[in-house]
């Protein structure tokens, strides 16, 4: 039962030679062969182990990993879940790929995702929806649905993911696993296909905070190829992971416990609060008075940036190109009409609209101002608290097809997660319970660069609970 072992245990087994790299890699490949047809969690699979085993004596020493298909990998398909890049092989490696490969991690394959990371259900993928391993009729969340689904079904011990408005944390919550979105700028964006540059952040999905800490320390840190990369000395998250936290002050915003959230989720939050109090934490009320503006602000800024970021997909240099176009104008129109799905088109249209002459000040500039207010609310709150707790999502995983024709309702799925992106703060989702066999996620936000605090708090919670160790029966 290798898939029950944590990353730490796998590293130990490998270095004690109880397990060979090849054995471990094949074990996961076999699980992927067996289970992926049910889940559709992978877009491409890296069956060959041989071309990857050159670096052995490193920290990760042959730990397998799945990468979200948004990260460019040299010589490999990098589709971003889109028809536009369905056959695109990247000529270069993303920084996160380079760093993990040189630390010894072995790539199992590339995971399914909402097209260009736009979606909260994985239904916008050109490669078909990915399924939630807890119930195959349900969505795994998105946009990193493939990574969350693969980790929940233990088709990979860990996976990379990205988060622009909740794309790591919401699927982690829906699939009953842990997902870290680091501080904006802590993991290089170089080689990560851009959705909304000022919000995009790479991170990890794994069963536990401990698993994530090991990978996070190796992947994070300054990259001269990314101008928005943070160049500060930051504490190691693994070093202090087991240290007992000082009496934590945890803030809860009243607005996050409002009537919009599923009562079963609020109930799980209450139990988590009890657990943290038992562990010595103090709980206080805080006010994030502009949080009701998170979703509208996000849905101006993110599409605005996306409309520009996605302009490069024009059929001229790479990617999909429409066959019979008679003019430049029609080449663009046909290529982009055929290559992009509905949700991507919707966001390009919204983004182009809010940036256009006459609307720029009323929408985009105003949204930037509100973004600053939202960030200030967090700054104020962190004068009083170490962490802010809320549910990750207002509802339990929903059925495939249930919300796909209702984008506004879909957008509100990110109500709890978007604030951390707008303010650039680190945040984590972690399993805090189940309702009717479906997982529930709790959500912490911390101050800038305090990933150590997030991972430490969740690690101690996970020492006292076993929600994160549950595996859907069908896949155990």
């Amino acid at each position: 039962m290798l898939h029950h072992l944590s990353i730490k245990e796998l590293i130990a087994s490998l270095s004690e030679k109880k397990l060979s790299y090849e054995e471990l890699f094949s074990y996961y490949q076999e699980r992927i062969q067996k289970f992926n047809p049910k889940l559709n969690a992978f877009i491409s699979v890296n069956e060959s182990f041989l071309d990857q085993d050159s670096i052995i004596e490193t920290k990760l020493k042959g730990i397998p990993i799945a990468h979200k298909d948004i990260f460019c990998m040299k010589g490999h398909l990098t589709t971003c879940g889109s028809k536009m890049l369905a056959n695109f092989k990247s000529p270069y490696d993303a920084t996160i790929i380079t760093r993990l490969a040189s630390a010894g991690a072995l790539t199992l394959g590339k995971t399914n995702m909402d097209e260009f990371a736009m979606g909260s259900s994985n239904e916008t993928s050109f490669f078909g929806p990915c399924k939630n391993p807890w119930d195959l009729k349900l969505v795994p969340g998105g946009s990193s649905g493939g990574s969350a689904s693969a980790v929940a079904a233990r088709l990979a011990p860990i996976a990379t993911a990205t988060d622009t408005g909740g794309s790591i944390r919401q699927p982690a919550a829906f699939c009953g696993v842990t997902g870290l979105k680091p501080t904006y700028g802590m993991i290089s964006r170089f080689g990560m296909i851009a959705f909304a540059s000022s919000l995009d952040q790479a991170g990890f999905i794994a069963p536990s905070a401990e698993d994530i800490a090991i990978f996070y320390d190796l992947a994070s840190g300054y990259d001269p190829k990314d101008s928005t990369s943070i160049n500060d000395q930051v504490a190691s998250t693994t070093k202090n992971l087991d240290q007992k936290p000082n009496a934590l002050t945890i803030g809860i915003a009243k607005s996050s416990l409002d009537k919009h959230a599923d009562p079963n989720i609020l109930n799980a939050i209450k139990q988590a609060v009890n657990q943290f109090e038992k562990m010595g934490a103090k709980i206080i009320d805080i006010d994030l008075k502009n949080s009701h503006l998170n979703v509208p602000t996000y849905y101006i800024i993110a599409p605005a940036e996306a409309s520009s970021n996605l302009s490069r997909f024009d059929g001229v240099r790479y990617g999909h190109r429409s066959e019979d176009s008679e003019s430049l104008q029609s080449l663009y129109a046909n290529t982009r009409s055929e290559g992009f799905g509905d949700e991507v088109k919707r966001r390009i249209l919204i983004g182009s609209y809010v940036l256009s002459a006459g609307f720029y000040d009323a929408y985009y500039i105003k949204a930037l101002r509100v973004r600053r207010l939202i960030a200030n609310d967090y700054k104020e709150a962190f004068k009083k608290v170490d962490l802010i707790l809320s549910p990750t999502t207002p509802n339990l995983p929903f059925a495939i097809g249930e919300k796909s024709n209702d984008p506004i309702s879909m957008y509100h799925n990110d109500a709890y997660t978007i604030g951390a992106n707008l303010a650039g703060l680190p945040a984590i989702s972690f399993p805090i319970g189940f309702h009717n066999g479906l997982p529930i996620g709790g959500h912490f936000v911390a101050q800038h660069l305090r990933e150590d605090l997030l991972l430490n708090a969740v690690n101690h919670f996970q020492k006292e609970t076993d929600f994160h160790q549950q595996i859907p029966q069908e896949f155990d």
């Binding site: 990260f71 460019c72 990098t78 971003c80 890049l85 695109f88 990247s90 000529p91 270069y92 993303a94 964006r189 170089f190 080689g191 990560m192 296909i193 851009a194 909304a196 540059s197 000022s198 001269p224 190829k225 990314d226 101008s227 928005t228 605005a304 940036e305 409309s307 520009s308 996605l310 302009s311 490069r312 997909f313 024009d314 001229v316 240099r317 790479y318 990617g319 430049l328 104008q329 663009y332 182009s352 940036l355 256009s356 002459a357 720029y360 985009y364």
Partner: protein, 477 residues
């Protein structure tokens, strides 16, 4: 041009900054490489790539700002200008809209012996696009992205110019300035300076500006003048026949000597500018500005004044030399090497014989295959009377590109001047006998005839006689 109309012109000059690598990638900026050989994944706009600012463009822009007495923004930001074109790989150009690096400067140009101030609204940094080559025989377009990402400084003037000649003078001055500052190679043929002209006309007494048109992509001083003249004339004719001017972008067709509108599709753009989230605002420190200030080279106007004061050049010569960076450098180097010639004498030679050589060879002074040492040595020989003016000129030609020493060339071409008084005296005697009539006139006080006599002696000596000595000898006879 009808005198009751006044032309109003503003220029946008795109200056290619001479950095070794591109503004947002490490690719080379060399001109003329194999198509697309200098385009990296960043220049090609691959998925996932990010721009990283080449810091040296900031310093070059600050240099320009300081040279034009402008405000240097302490915080400057890059924005995206969004539009689709095949030679624009990302679908947006990284440029500056708000908070450009340089604002509110000016230059002074000389118009008909009067100093005129041309205000500079702003100068901002941006990346160049690639090139589209349309092959109508194939019905295809080819794209070369080598130029994509080359750093540009776009210098926008106020509408302060009132004639095509003023516009070209201004452009010439900007060209001179960026060459002096060492921030641009100044190569017009390779497109290192390109210009868009905003042109309108108005009744001379009117304060209100007319509707303007923009003529795109003018890349020589001659084109600028011609295009503006033709466009202004077109506007005047329309207005005089009761029509109105449409605000539009036009292209200058040199062959047909006309301007014509660009296709509307190419210009009807809402660029949807917004701050580029991939690049952080650039904060410019006082220290950086101070250190650039300290390393500023002497500017053309300063040099001009110094030439007049320090070398006693007349205004015209000083301006002519200072207005050519390579010539001015050559001139000052010659002064340090020359032992006998005055700066004024060197200036005469450089503006005369050597400028002719440079023009005939269609090069500039930096490409001359003659060093300031060679030139000052040859001119010294002339000043000393060892060579005639004609010989010195010929020797400059012989020495150009030659490995041989000046002494060897003088021997080879049998050039040394006759300064031996006995030899010259004998020759003069012979000539005076042959020209007894003129000599008698001279003796009767007709001083003008001496030139004729000296000429005869020079002719007989095949130009080798020292004319100064010849004159003295004739006078003593």
């Amino acid at each position: 041009m009808k005198s009751n109309w006044e032309i109003v012109i503003g220029l946008e000059i795109h200056v290619q900054l001479n950095t070794a690598s591109k503004i947002f990638s490490g690719s080379s900026t060399d001109f003329g490489a194999k198509p697309n050989s200098q385009a990296s994944i960043i220049d090609l706009g691959y998925p996932g790539v990010l721009p990283v600012l080449n810091q040296s463009v900031i310093e070059k822009a600050i240099k320009f700002g300081l040279a034009t007495d402008a405000k240097i923004s302490r915080k400057t930001i890059f924005s995206r200008k969004n539009y689709f074109y095949p030679d624009l790989p990302k679908g947006y150009q990284i440029s500056q809209l708000e908070l450009p690096i340089v604002q509110e400067g000016y230059v002074e140009i000389n118009i008909n012996e009067e100093i005129k101030k041309i205000r500079i609204t702003r100068a901002h940094l941006e990346e160049d696009a690639g090139k589209s080559i349309h092959d109508s025989s194939l019905g295809k377009s080819k794209i070369d992205l080598n130029r994509a990402g080359t750093p540009l400084l776009e210098i926008v003037s106020e509408p302060d110019m009132r004639s095509a000649a003023e516009a070209s003078s201004y452009m010439k001055y900007v060209h001179l300035l960026v060459t002096y500052l060492g921030i641009c190679d100044g190569n017009l043929q390779e497109g290192s300076l390109r210009c868009d002209a905003n042109v309108s006309v108005k009744p001379r007494e009117s304060k209100k500006l007319g509707t303007r048109t923009e003529i795109k992509n003018l890349n020589s001083f001659r084109f600028i003048e011609k295009a503006i003249e033709i466009e202004a004339q077109r506007q005047i004719e329309i207005l005089e026949s009761g029509g109105t001017i449409t605000q539009e972008t036009r292209l200058f067709d040199e062959e047909k000597q006309e301007t014509r509108p660009m296709r509307s599709k190419e210009e009807a753009n809402d660029y949807r500018y917004f701050p580029d989230p991939d690049l952080l605002p650039v904060v410019i420190s006082e220290d950086l500005i101070k250190s650039i200030q300290q390393s500023m080279p002497e500017l053309p106007n300063q040099k001009n004044k110094r030439f007049i004061n320090e070398y006693q050049l007349d205004k015209n010569d000083a301006a002519r030399i200072a207005n050519d960076f390579d010539l001015a450098t050559f001139f000052e180097s010659s002064i340090t090497h020359s032992k006998h010639a005055s700066p004024k004498q060197l200036a005469n030679w450089l503006l005369g014989k050597l400028s002719n050589m440079v023009n005939e060879k269609n090069i500039n002074f930096s490409k001359l295959k003659l060093s300031p040492v060679d030139v000052s040595s040859i001119i010294d020989l002339y000043i000393l009377g060892n060579l005639s003016q004609k010989q010195a000129g010929e020797l400059l030609e012989y020495k150009h590109g030659s490995e041989a020493s000046i002494e060897d060339l003088i021997t080879e071409y049998n050039m040394s001047q006759i300064s031996d008084t006995q030899e010259l005296s004998d020759l003069v005697d012979k000539i005076l006998i042959e020209n007894q009539v003129q000599f008698d006139e001279f003796k009767c006080g007709n001083n003008k005839v001496i030139g004729y006599l000296i000429g005869k002696v020079m002719q007989a000596s095949k130009g080798k006689a020292n004319p100064k000595l010849v004159k003295e000898i004739i006078e003593s006879k």
